[in-house]
């Protein structure tokens, strides 16, 4: 592996490395919060951290940032349907 190969490898793996570090860091936060339970409604923060991790994997690892709008539509329509299902079922369960 020549010097230029290493440079090419570093350039190509730069983004995956950054996402790895970010995801592991966020995981560490969630694990710490889960283990220590610092304050009462900590689940809200944990949910937010998990949402960030999901967003990172979607946007960076799955290259949604530089995809055609059609693919972006299809990836977001799944999550939007999730919200419809959860939201409307909660109108039943939270107001019984």
């Amino acid at each position: 592996m020549t010097r230029t190969d290493w440079a090419m490898l570093r350039r190509v793996l730069r983004v995956p490395c950054i996402t790895l570090v970010a995801l592991v860091a966020l995981l560490a936060i969630n694990v710490a919060l889960g283990a220590t339970l610092p304050f009462r409604n900590v689940w809200i923060v944990e949910a937010g951290v998990a949402a960030c991790m999901v967003a990172i994997v979607l946007l960076v690892s799955m290259d949604l940032l530089d995809e055609t709008p059609l693919i972006r539509l299809f990836s977001s329509i799944g999550f939007f349907w999730l919200l419809i299902m959860f939201g409307m079922i909660l109108t039943d369960y939270l107001y019984r």
Binding site: W81, I84, M85, M88, T91, R96
Partner: protein, 543 residues
């Protein structure tokens, strides 16, 4: 009408997909979307016959109020089998998998669907699901109703529930694969010049149906997997003895099953739009509205499932929200019906068999749709939920709507499928018989429903007997009506008149190629620079 590129109507020449190869391998390992369409046509017709026999026996049993003809268990198994087979093995695949598979590539000028092998896999997955259902039938049937409500299906029923559940889980994947194929084909495989607003409405409805396949089917697959887990391994999620909530299963079930109703209805609307445009020789009125209405239906239908659960302890807020949205979901259907009527206005009407089915469809579909609005009204549903009013409502939509659209489409595209014309006179007689038989069977059930006769009753109070006898009588006429097309269509395969490439002078790319079309649909990929349904100029001939 001479078709320069291919000698039209000369059967036997290996120029068309039917006579290209005769071996079994060429049928059972085909990746030609047209042959897969015919494979589906054969399998769903077989299942339709099975479901129709179950329906006939149910109507026979209900002639007497004390239910002496079949035992209560047999009756329960009959209506469950009728439901499961008709919903998953006939209605859902009927238009998307047969006409959709055959015509989608033809209508958008493509050689084949995006993933041909996946398309064949979807048929084999369908037959595997069918195998499970046949095993259930042979072992002794299932008596939970097609809704499989917990805790009855998981704990209290002692019939073959698990094979039935596995059958429906597997056939769900067949729908998903078909939906996935159509979505990618419509996005990526359109021929040059075929923009979204130059596609026929039938393709719009198939695209909307495929969206519902993708967004709805996984949820019921999971719901039924949870039922299998709870019944087979006691891994209970809905088990009330552990504190679980059976209403949660109802939520998951109806989240798919109401959109499934639109899976059955939407393609029917597409077929009717094609028929009305072709037999009125006129552009569809308000093409854009009808197209957007199809996509609108596919999305709003996911917001209304709660109207199946008004009386099962659902919170009043949820019921009111679902009731309001159920009124909103009727709007796209209304605009379609009015636009069809406007299309017929000042058209050049030919009342052939497909047009008779189309007009029968519009009448019965409107009646079915508006009785749906009755059931969406909270106070009325408190009275009519789970009565024969509901049975009549959804049969008006399923049989009066989808079935008539399926038969109309079958007659309309029969020349394109087989290269043969069906006998016109017999066609019209069949259409009339079905229309009369259908109304005599199901209109009395509206009255029975309002009188308060609950559905799925093997034994019923004597004051309802007269209307039930009327309904059973109607079902015999309907049975004869169904029998007619089966006979003369098969007869036409050998003795029918040779069909020209465009027997109806209709527009659409499928009519520009020969009947039956060559294996790769078009000799040269067509270029579309004309609006859809441009009946203003003479039928165009493209090789």
């Amino acid at each position: 009408m001479r078709d320069p590129a291919t000698p039209h109507g000369t059967i036997g020449q290996p120029s068309d997909y039917l006579h290209a190869r005769y071996t079994l391998r060429s049928w059972f390992f085909t990746t030609d979307h047209k042959r897969i369409g015919l494979l589906y046509l054969a399998s769903i017709t077989a299942f339709f016959v099975l479901g129709a026999i179950a329906a006939g026996l149910i109507r026979l049993c209900l002639v007497v109020p004390n239910g002496q003809i079949f035992t209560n268990d047999t009756y329960n198994k009959l209506f469950t089998m009728h439901g499961v087979i008709m919903v998953w093995f006939f209605l859902i695949p009927s238009i998307p998998s047969t006409f959709g598979n055959f015509l989608l590539p033809l209508m958008i000028g493509a050689k084949d669907v995006a993933f041909p092998r996946l398309n064949l896999l979807s048929w084999y997955v369908f037959m595997t699901g069918a195998l499970f259902t046949m095993i259930t039938l042979i072992l002794g049937g299932v008596d939970t109703g097609w809704t499989f409500y917990a805790p009855f299906s998981t704990t209290y029923s002692n019939t073959y529930v698990i094979p039935a559940l596995l059958g429906v889980i597997v056939v769900g994947f067949s729908s998903i694969l078909t939906g996935l194929n159509f979505v990618v084909t419509v996005h990526k495989m359109r021929c040059p010049g075929m923009t979204w607003f130059r596609m026929p409405i039938f393709i719009w409805t198939l695209y909307a149906t495929s969206l519902i396949f993708l967004l709805g089917t996984p949820v019921i697959t999971l719901a039924l997997i949870l039922l299998v887990m709870e019944r087979a391994f006691h891994i209970g999620v809905f088990d009330p003895r552990l504190g679980g909530d059976p209403v949660l299963f109802e939520h998951l079930f109806w989240f798919y099953s109401h959109p499934a109703v639109y899976i059955m209805v939407l393609p029917g609307m597409g077929v009717i739009t094609e028929l009305v445009a072709a037999f009125a020789q006129k552009r569809v009125f308000g093409y854009k509205f009808v197209a957007y209405a199809s996509i609108g239906l596919a999305s709003i239908t996911f917001l209304v499932w709660g109207h199946h659960m008004f009386v099962n302890g659902q919170s009043q807020l949820a019921s009111t929200v679902f009731s309001f949205l159920s009124f909103a979901v009727a709007v796209p259907s209304a605009v379609k019906v009015y636009n069809w009527t406007a299309t017929i206005h000042k058209g050049n009407i030919r009342l052939d068999t497909p047009m008779l089915y189309a007009m029968g469809y519009i009448g019965l579909f409107v009646l079915g749709g508006l009785t749906g609005l009755f059931l969406a009204t909270l106070a009325v549903d408190a009275h009519l939920h789970d009565t024969y009013f509901v049975v009549a409502h959804f049969h008006y939509i399923m049989v009066g709507g989808t079935m008539l659209a399926f038969l109309g489409g079958l007659h309309y595209w029969w020349p394109k499928f087989t290269g043969r014309m069906y006998p016109e006179a017999f066609g019209r007689v069949g259409a009339f018989l079905i229309f009369i038989g259908f109304n005599v069977t199901f209109f009395p059930q509206f009255i029975l429903g309002y009188l308060g006769m609950p559905r799925r009753y093997h034994v019923y109070p004597p004051e309802f007997q007269l209307l039930n006898i009327l309904s059973s009588a109607g079902s015999t006429i309907l049975a004869v009506g169904y029998f007619f097309p089966m006979i003369y269509l098969i007869w036409s395969l050998w003795f029918g008149k040779r069909a020209p490439a465009n027997p109806w002078q209709a527009r659409g790319l499928e009519w520009t190629t020969s009947s039956p079309p060559p294996p790769h649909n078009f000799a040269v990929t067509p270029r579309v620079d004309f609006e859809p349904y441009d009946y203003a100029i003479k039928a165009r001939e493209v090789g």
